[in-house]
């Protein structure tokens, strides 16, 4: 198995539809107008020597190696910067060109260390390749002249080194940082011979604005920017294309291996979501797979105050089955349930919900999407008829006005953010609706036209005010509404939003936003061309999460921004497989493909396939399971791949519920916080160790491919099968592809999906069936899935979570670039160098009132609990608003969040908690007590053999 080859055409593809014919070295070739000669040559299979060119970057023309001769034209132009012309006759290899190229290479090599044999890039170095390609045999200038060979190496970044002695100043890294990533952290400092790549203001990489996306490392043609793992291990010898297991962008990577050792993850150019780009997490933060804290053997115990005992797989699975059967016999069929995870594959989540529905005989199955994007499913199904976003990520390239509401893409969806920033640099306008001044509000070469810094909890009010402006100022796309939408529903909605309580002048003061800014943003969105809306958990995790999703859908329909590239409603899913876990029937009320369990026809199809009668009643949601546990009617839980104790709201409540259960089974990589209340621990496998699929935020089904054997001895899907078998319900599959075949048989929107198709075309976006054999990039193109678009009235209802004298501040939570959700993976990587603890962002006014200085310990109290963490005094948050992350169990931000939830879906209201912040000396009582509990609970008894 070799390395997966990727051709480098030298310059980007031209989007032109016009064809141009030319001759290159006697070969006739036809390419789109606007293509470079270099690209045309490569299309004809002729590789023109190059160093500063690569097809992810615009042509630069600095290395002078790609010179060609053109019949009838003087000189030797650079083929990267010279566009093709009809009838052009190009020569890439003449005596004159050979001489020139050798001369150029001599200059490069005269200032380059001659350490090829000990260089980390030996065998993977474009400079080395080009020396060979041009036939370099001598360097007439010698090596004793002035040079850069003593330049100091920068090893400050945990993942890559910068060795300026090997730099040829081709600017590929600088251009990658600008054009691909959009951070502008690198520059060329100095002139002429003194030119040198510089991070920030001549800083070390770690101290600069560098976000460690890896684009510069990937672009570097030498060993100047090099992954430390390659330096330590050597260049890889084979690679496998797989999909990142972090956020919902779903980047494809080449897992580059040496034997069964992963050397590096390189973003795949063929990846349809990432097109060769990556972020610090996917690119570098995979070391957790081999972390010393990983659990590789099953563990059991009778009570949670006992140490764990290592047992065989048979004993552990037997314990799960016997306990679950005992509980059902004693407390009834509906006394147990399961939770699937958006970190797991489609096939794994499908099997867990099948185990619960058919094996347990109830519908007590839910997923962690409950606590993030369940309102998206409800809201978009109610308005459009499909529980999913409408576009692909490529769509952003056609957007003219972009609303980002309740999302922070540069931190949470960085690869998409880079594409968005690129479009904004090209001139698209941006409207940010967020309580915080997120980076997108003002970042190099990007500035939002409007930032509506609303008070947390007022999304629906602001969205109604935008709609009010659009309707009352005559900005509705009447033609679209007439043709595509339910007119009666539109009339009801238009009358509602036109009421004075929805005007910007009424809403502005309560939301803390100037009315003229609301009107300006509404006018821009309605009249600025293609309007696209991107949103995240700042929309969904509210008591009106579903209402706000519907309000977004209403806005898109009213302005005609549905059904073509450049527009649409785009939920940015937090985890890698949020969309997929929902698609797979993880919600307690519906089978795969979003079909309700009470539908007799659908249910009978599943009953026939699974050979068991199925419950027609909806099951318990996650929060309902906790409540039922506390009232004694819910006793057993199988949790695959989710840390509900750290991630779900009101930690005290969750802990009490878990403690009330008699059998909690956790399947995960590490002894997570939930496991401290568990009775059986089943070691799981990483994404590197499994086959399957993830479905990203754009409905794209991507293959996950096993690159090494599961270190725990069993793949996750096999563990679920073993539990089913032990409980007397046989599920039989030889490979995850067979699970997908069953999903396709039973799910109309997946009818055309198979591993064979995915291997052939790379990935597809559902619906993928006879009508759309290779998937559907843009949904609702000619008609909404439900027929007519459904406008829904979205009355603003203030949350029950009120600020007052005791709790005067509003806490909102989120995540940052270097960490991921509960941090189970990223805390076990070098990413902790950027974020080793949660901190509380607090406005200088609020800090001063409380006598809090930057870095001080601060105690955060709410009606549900208290925790302490360090303060970060910043104007990024507005006065009256504080913000923190939930990445670290030592803080457990959710000890202060409340039980309030979305009216339709019970998605928790993480984004609004009334709190007080006061100076503190150290950890809260709860932190001390929990720390002690967690330590005691993680004890593992040594076996006799040890």
């Amino acid at each position: 198995m070799p390395l997966v080859p990727e051709l480098d055409y030298g310059t980007p593809a031209s989007p032109s539809a016009e064809a141009v014919g030319l001759t290159v070295d006697g070969n006739r070739v036809t390419v789109p107008a606007g293509s470079s000669i270099m690209r045309a040559a490569m299309t004809a299979g002729i590789q023109v020597p190059k160093l500063c060119a690569t097809d992810s970057l615009a042509a630069f023309g600095s290395c002078r190696l790609c010179l060609v001769e053109i019949a009838g034209r003087p000189g030797t132009p650079a083929s990267c910067t010279t566009p093709v012309a009809e009838g052009m006759v190009v020569s890439t290899q003449t005596e004159r060109l050979k001489r020139l190229r050798r001369g150029v290479m001599e200059l490069y090599i005269s200032d380059h260390p001659l350490d090829c044999l000990t260089c980390a890039a030996n065998g993977d170095c474009e400079l080395q390749d080009m020396a060979g390609a041009v036939g370099l045999r001598e360097v007439r200038y010698g090596y004793k002249g002035e040079n850069h060979l003593d330049a100091a190496k920068d090893e400050s970044n945990p993942y890559f080194t910068f060795d300026p002695s090997k730099c040829i100043v081709c600017s590929r890294c600088v251009r990658a940082c600008e054009e691909v990533q959009g951070t502008f952290a690198l520059t060329i400092q100095g002139r002429g011979f003194d030119s040198a790549v510089s991070a920030g203001m001549a800083e070390k990489f770690i101290d600069s604005e560098c976000v460690s996306c890896g684009a510069c490392v990937q672009a570097c043609p030498t060993a100047t920017l090099m992954e430390k793992t390659v330096i330590e291990t050597g260049v890889p010898e084979h690679s496998v294309v797989t999909t990142c297991a972090y956020c919902g962008v779903g980047c494809n990577f080449k897992a580059e291996m040496r034997g069964d050792e992963l050397v590096r993850m390189v973003p795949s150019k063929e990846g349809k979501a990432n097109h060769g780009h990556s972020c610090v997490k996917g690119r570098f933060a995979w070391g957790y797979a081999n972390h010393r804290e990983r659990i590789l053997k099953p563990l059991v115990r009778e009570r949670i105050d006992q140490p764990w005992r290592e047992v065989s797989w048979d004993e552990a699975i037997g314990r799960v089955a016997s306990e679950f059967k005992r509980l059902q016999e004693k407390h009834g069929r509906r006394s147990i349930g399961g939770i699937t995870s958006s970190r797991c594959t489609n096939e794994e989540t499908y099997l867990v919900q099948k185990l619960v529905r058919a094996g347990f005989g109830n519908n007590n199955i839910d997923t962690c999407a409950r606590v993030c994007h369940s309102p998206t499913g409800y809201g978009l199904k109610s308005t459009f008829g499909a529980s999913a976003g409408t576009q692909d990520f490529d769509s952003v390239e056609h957007a003219d006005v972009v609303i980002v509401i309740g999302a922070n893409p540069t931190d949470a969806h960085p690869v998409f953010a880079s594409r968005l920033k690129k479009r904004l640099r090209q001139g698209a306008k941006l409207i940010v609706i967020d309580p915080r001044r997120i980076d997108l509000v003002r970042t190099p070469h990007v500035e939002a036209a409007f930032h509506l810094a609303l008070r947390p909890g007022t999304n629906a009010a602001i969205l109604n005010a935008l709609a009010h402006t659009i309707v009352t100022e005559g900005l509705v796309n009447q033609a679209f509404v007439r043709e595509r939408c339910d007119l009666q529903a539109f009339e009801y909605w238009a009358a509602f939003v036109s009421e004075s309580q929805n005007s910007p002048e009424t809403v502005g003061p309560l939301a803390g936003v100037p009315p003229e800014a609301i009107r300006g943003a509404a006018r821009l969105f309605a009249t600025g061309g293609n309007g696209a809306i991107y949103y995240g958990l700042g929309v969904t995790e509210h008591s009106q999460g579903s209402t706000a999703v519907m309000a977004i859908a209403n806005l898109a329909m009213a302005t005609g921004n549905i059904g073509r590239p450049g527009v649409g409603v785009n939920p940015l899913r937090g985890q890698n497989n949020v969309q997929g876990s929902c698609d797979m029937g993880s919600f307690p009320h519906e089978f795969s493909g979003y079909r309700h369990v009470s539908d007799d026809g659908v249910r009978s199809t599943f009953e026939a396939s699974w050979g068991r009668p199925l419950d027609a009643e909806p099951g318990l949601r996650i929060g309902n399971m906790f409540d039922a546990a506390l009232d004694g009617s819910f006793k057993g839980l199988y949790v695959q791949g989710e840390d509900i104790l750290q991630s779900d709201p009101n930690t005290h409540h969750v802990a009490a519920a878990l403690a009330a259960m008699e059998c909690v089974v956790v399947q995960d990589l590490f002894l997570n916080e939930t496991s401290t209340y568990a009775h059986v621990f089943l070691p799981g496998s990483t994404f590197l160790e499994k086959d399957g699929t993830f479905t990203n935020a754009e409905r794209r089904i991507n293959r996950v491919r096993r690159v090494m054997a599961p270190r725990n001895g069993m793949a996750d899907w096999e563990i679920t099968l073993a539990i089913a078998h032990a409980m007397g319900f046989d599920m039989s599959y030889g490979h995850p592809s067979e699970v997908m075949d069953e999903i396709a048989r039973l799910t109309p929107t997946f009818a055309g999906v198979s591993y064979e198709l995915l291997d052939r075309v790379g990935s597809v976006q559902w619906p993928c069936n006879a009508q759309a054999p290779v998937g559907t990039p843009v949904m609702h193109a000619d008609a909404f899935l439900r027929g007519k678009g459904n406008f829904i009235i979205t009355e603003y209802v203030p949350t029950d979570e009120k600020v007052g004298p005791r709790f005067p501040l509003l806490l909102t939570t989120g995540r940052i670039l270097s960490q991921y959700n509960v941090g189970a993976q990223t805390r076990r990587t070098a990413n902790v160098i950027w974020h080793d603890a949660d901190v509380l962002e607090i406005h200088p006014h609020d800090a001063e009132q409380r006598g809090v200085r930057d870095g001080d310990w601060i105690r955060l109290d709410s009606r549900t609990g208290a925790t302490t963490l360090r303060a970060r005094v910043t104007e990024r948050v507005a006065p009256g608003v504080v913000y923190t992350t939930f990445h670290h169990p030592e803080t457990q931000a959710n000890v202060v969040t409340s039980d309030y939830s979305d009216w339709a879906t019970n998605c928790p209201e993480y984004k609004v908690t009334a709190v007080q912040a006061t100076p503190s000396n150290g950890p809260s009582d709860w932190q001390r007590d929990y720390g002690e509990h967690a330590r005691a609970s993680r004890r593992i008894e040594k076996t006799a053999a040890e």
Binding site: H589, S598, G619, A628, I793, A904
Partner: protein, 77 residues
């Protein structure tokens, strides 16, 4: 299950459907409860209604009264 929480959740649902136009709010609320609430939750709120239904808003009371669980209770009574 904690009845105060169930009442609050039911009233939240009620508030949403009461704002819609052109449809019977109680029917819409009942439909939502039937589709998304597990039977023991419906049974508990129906029992609460049978005991007076303290805290339940008007249309929600009507909706809970239409649930199958409430009908069963009335038969038993």
């Amino acid at each position: 299950m904690e009845i105060a929480k169930l009442v609050r959740m039911a009233n939240q649902i009620g508030r949403f459907f009461a704002a819609q136009r052109g449809r019977d709010p109680a029917a819409a609320i009942a439909d939502h409860l039937n589709k998304f609430w597990e039977p023991r939750m419906r049974a508990e709120i129906a029992t609460h209604l049978a005991g007076g239904g303290a805290g339940l808003d008007g249309p929600v009371r009507d909706a809970v009264g239409r649930l199958r669980e409430a009908q069963l209770l009335s038969v038993r009574v």
